[in-house]
């Protein structure tokens, strides 16, 4: 269905081709998963199928890409629109119209289908994707999972033979991701659609794939094969595969179900060992850095601003953050209700829950961006929304969902200098942190040219420059590959050991299992579970990591714990 013949792509100004020597054939009716570390050209390969590369993005494509016999060199993306449906990483930038029903019809209108055919297909697709209730809703009011389903639906209505998806589940909570994957499964099985998708969260998708294409490193030729074979050599792998490799299972299991069947002997070997208890929190609380004298502007001096804040004494506090019976309302909607939460120094707390449960609102309240409607919030002894931003950065730092928002200088060096002056830290302290987190990034790189993982690290360094005792991260692993995630886990682990309290809002159960001392689950703005990670996640089908699902009822959370228990040095 899709044929790549000796394809290589080189973008203008790039030193080496992004893709080279790609030679592969995707047969009709298969779900093919494209895996590989960040920056190996997965998105470029996907773009080449829909013709957006090179017609839209520029660059030079040599070789030949044909889709169902149509050559993308001679066919523009719009002439492939009836054949290939493409959904990019960000569903919001996919939408052309403003209501769900119009969006589903848009592609068919462009192709000139008859009105009665359009009407029928829209109704069918609404049912297929479970969107019937939302048909008249403005798209902007939908949740992330709903938007992703609308985006998929909007390319399904012209009945394309090929569906190309770039990270369809990265932004979704586990339940919404399962919905999307169930839909894809159904398309492949019932309609014979060919699906080609790239995804970092392999633990979610690898079991559904018929074949896996691995791009091992930038510019290297892709390897295609059965999922189990490819996973055996892949540098990126989900926990279930890692556990399988550790235990030496052959062939490798790809789903929890396969792994559980083989895991009897492993459970026996581990029965005598106790899973490691979480270490007690002994880290000393961090004191905020002393504010350096602030040079006030002329206007500030005229208005007498800025003098008052420096004189206030530092209030002492036992907990880094204390939230009591917090309520937040937005219009008539109660975003948070009676939330009580205490974060101790050195503690890592994972906030989980479906999209829209109030995780981001809680984080925003902790940094003072949202004013509580009721209840109290104290961070480092201060009420966040009444404290000057300059003061607040030395008590709490938030890395937002899109780290790029935090970066607005045009080079890494300028960004660091700005961070130093913002935080009132000694010059060079931010750059030192950057060097620690990102060893080989030159000073003059533009933040936009960094990879997702590097950008996150830079934003983290900027936030850490003020040495805030409380560090908040909103969805930090979105778009990160396993290697970047592993580095992040190491960094955050080190910070916690040095006494930083960390609160993560995340959908990534594996991350929570590796890092968090405590898991707090929010639903509809209320805390529905709060306890030690093992107690909370092991009992939950949605939030349990793969390792604990495989080894239940034993309470192992991560492959690393199992490896340590087996005494495997590697």
């Amino acid at each position: 269905m899709i044929r790549f013949e000796q394809v290589s792509v080189r973008y203008e100004g790039a030193e080496r081709p992004t893709l080279s020597g790609v030679d592969l054939t995707v047969p009709e009716g298969e779900l093919v998963l494209l895996v590989g570390p960040s920056g190996v050209g997965k998105s470029t390969l996907l773009g080449a199928v829909s013709g957006l590369v090179p017609h839209f993005t520029g660059g030079t494509l040599s070789g030949r890409v044909t889709v169902d016999g149509r050559d993308t060199r001679t066919h523009k993306p719009r002439e492939l629109a009836d054949l290939v449906g493409t959904v990019g990483q960000d569903p919001l930038s996919h939408f052309v119209t403003d209501t769900v029903e119009d969006e589903l019809a848009y592609g068919m209108e462009s192709l000139g289908l008859a009105p009665d055919v359009m009407r029928r297909r829209v109704e069918e697709t609404l049912d297929l994707l479970g969107l019937a209730e939302l048909r008249d809703r403005p798209i902007a009011t939908l949740s992330g999972g709903q938007q992703q389903r609308v985006a998929i639906g909007s390319v399904l209505t012209p009945h394309p033979k090929v569906l190309v998806l770039d990270e369809p589940t990265s932004a979704l909570d586990p339940a919404a991701a399962e919905d999307v994957l169930a839909v894809l499964q159904r398309l492949v099985h019932d309609l014979g659609t060919t699906v080609l998708m790239a995804e970092h969260r392999l633990e979610r998708v690898v079991q559904y794939a018929d074949r896996v294409v691995l791009l091992p490193s930038p510019g290297a030729a892709p390897v295609m094969g059965a999922p189990a074979d490819i996973m055996a050599v892949s540098p990126v792998r989900p926990p279930v595969v890692a556990l399988g490799r550790l235990a030496g299972w052959e062939p490798l299991p790809l789903s929890v179900r396969d792994a559980r069947r083989r895991a009897a002997d492993l459970r026996e070997r581990l029965a005598s060992v106790q899973p490691p208890a979480p270490e007690p929190l002994t880290a000393p609380p961090l004191a905020p850095v002393a504010p350096s004298p602030v040079r006030r502007g002329v206007l500030d001096r005229l208005l007498g601003r800025g003098a008052r804040t420096a004189a206030e004494p530092e209030p002492a506090a036992d907990a880094t953050a204390r939230v009591e019976r917090l309520g937040v309302r937005r219009g008539r909607v109660e975003a948070l209700r009676r939330v009580t939460l205490t974060v101790a120094p050195g503690e890592t707390v994972a906030l989980m829950g479906r999209n829209g449960a109030g995780k981001s609102t809680l984080l925003a309240t902790l940094v003072g961006m949202v004013e509580p409607t009721s209840g109290t919030v104290l961070v480092g002894g201060r009420t966040p929304h009444r404290t000057q931003p300059r003061e607040m950065v030395r008590r709490v730092g938030l890395v937002p969902q899109e780290p790029r928002d935090l970066l607005y200088a045009d080079s890494v060096a300028a960004e660091c200098a700005a961070a130093d002056s913002d935080a009132g830290a000694a010059p060079g302290s931010c750059r030192a942190l950057v060097s620690e987190l990102l060893p080989d990034v030159p000073d003059d790189t533009h933040p936009r040219d960094l990879s997702e993982g590097q950008r996150l690290a830079l934003a983290l360094a900027v936030v850490l420059t003020a040495r805030p005792p409380l560090l908040l991260l909103d969805e930090p692993t979105r778009g990160l590959d396993y290697a970047a995630k592993a580095r992040l886990v190491t960094v955050l682990g080190g910070l916690a050991a040095r006494g930083h309290a960390i609160v993560l809002a995340t959908h990534d159960v594996e991350l929570a299992a590796e890092l968090a001392h405590r898991v707090v689950i929010l639903a509809d703005g209320e805390v529905v579970a709060d306890g030690e990670t093992r107690q909370v996640v092991v009992s939950s089908p949605a939030f349990a990591p793969q390792t604990s699902k495989i080894l239940a009822p034993q309470k192992w959370l991560t492959v690393a714990q199992v490896r340590a228990a087996l005494g495997d040095p590697s």
Partner: protein, 418 residues
């Protein structure tokens, strides 16, 4: 309500009355955006014909009542409040200018006197400060109120009709341009969202969020982000078939070009003829010929586009009633300009209290008709609008065979995805 439709001829009065009641709004019976705009423009025309504050107030009241009764909770529907604020601002600006710059209205009732700034000889006729009379204030107030009412009528149309759907009713040849305009219009709200996000980010970095410096520093990333987003939307549109064209014989293409260009030239020439002193003879026929040619060109140009329309809005009885009520108000007010001229423009010199002329006021009330005949949108916060939707697809019905409305989807599901 549906019972009456199936009953044969002998319907009871009760059933007949039920059938006449406005139905709940849905996509099928949605009023065309054009109907709402005609209604609002009718009210606006009426407003431009009077300075009587009582009549203007009545017009604002009529527009406001219809908006309150028939608007949805869609994002564009919230713009009404903004338009009212702009209207008040216009009145205030008009008053302030009148106070400081004086007014040619002669008046005898001095309210207060501002110190007058002496201006050199060459600035004769311009005055800064000086006497402020009640007459000039009332005049400015009437004038401002007229403009504000016009704006509020436009705001009413804006919040009742989806602007995107108005552009959808463009002829086929202009459709692509219409989509481009719609996408461009989403730019503004997206940029506002970007500004909010970046202000947040500034706060996170401990910088003040106000001030000129902040605006300058935020500006560039906002523009960058907006540009990136529009490129992404363009890519998506391209991949979804935007701009696909059908093969048209060269003859047709040439005819289209000739007709469109010739028509536009004709329109220009005709307009010039009408405006110039000596061309009144040929002006009208050339203008009409030009218009016809341009229309024919657009129509032929539509053949190049392969697009079809999904569920276009239909002009039904209710749409005609809505549009007609607005036109009726406008016509009545224009007619009243002759018969009730004095009441429509209450005197300023000498100051008189405005009176409410009975028949024009009654005519304005015709504008309330849409509040009765237009389909009723579901109240805010009902399941169709704001329910958490448990919408995971359950079961496995093959798409091709799924009977509409009977697929096992949307069944009660414990996983609510909000």
């Amino acid at each position: 309500m549906t019972a009456s439709t199936s009953a044969p001829a002998g319907r009871t009065p009760l059933a007949r009355r039920r059938a006449l009641r406005a139905p709940a709004a849905s996509r099928s019976n949605a009023l065309p955006a054009g109907a709402w705009w005609l209604w609002a423009l009718g009210l606006a025309t009426a407003a431009s014909r009077t300075t009587n504050p009582l009549l203007l107030g009545l017009l604002v009241g009529v527009a406001g009542y219809v908006v309150a009764a028939r608007r949805t909770d869609a994002p564009w529907a919230r713009s009404y409040g903004a338009f009212i604020r702009i209207g008040l601002f216009v009145v205030a600006v008009r008053l302030v200018f009148s106070v400081f710059l004086g007014s040619p209205i002669p008046g005898t009732h001095t309210v207060f006197t501002l110190p007058e700034v002496p201006l050199p000889d060459w600035a004769k006729g311009v005055r800064l400060g000086g006497r402020v009379t009640a007459e000039q204030l009332v005049f400015a107030l009437y004038d401002g109120a007229k403009l504000a009412t016009l704006l509020i009528c436009i705001g009413a149309a804006n919040s009742l009709a989806n602007p995107a759907r108005l552009l959808k009713s463009l002829p086929g040849a202009l459709y692509e341009a219409g989509v481009a305009v719609v996408v461009a219009m989403t730019f503004a709200p997206n940029m506002v969202a970007d500004v909010m996000r970046l202000r947040t980010a500034r706060r996170l970095r401990g910088r003040p969020t106000g001030g000129i410096k902040a605006v300058l520093q935020i500006g560039l990333p906002v523009l960058e982000g907006a540009l990136e987003r529009s490129v992404a939307v363009a890519a998506s549109m391209d991949a979804r078939g935007y701009g696909r064209t059908a093969q048209v014989p060269p003859a047709v293409r040439r005819t289209t070009n000739v007709l469109t260009l010739g028509g536009l030239l004709g329109v220009c020439a005709g307009t010039y003829g009408l405006l110039a002193a000596q061309g009144a003879v040929y002006g009208v026929p050339v203008l009409i010929a030009g218009l016809v040619a341009a229309m024919a060109g657009l129509r032929l140009g539509g053949a190049r586009s392969v697009r079809t329309r999904y569920r276009p809005d239909r002009w039904g009885v209710r749409a005609w009633l809505v549009a007609g009520s607005g036109v009726a108000v406008a016509v009545a007010m224009i007619w009243a300009g002759g018969a009730y001229g004095e009441a429509l423009h209450p005197g300023v010199v000498p100051l008189t209290a405005p009176v409410l002329p009975l028949w024009p006021a009654a005519a304005v009330l015709i504008g309330l008709l849409p509040a009765v005949v237009a389909p009723v949108p579901p109240p805010v916060g009902t399941p169709a609008n704001a329910a958490p939707v448990g919408a995971a697809p359950v079961g496995a019905a093959p798409v091709g065979a799924a009977p509409v409305g009977a697929a096992p989807v949307g069944a009660p599901n414990s996983k609510e995805i909000q």
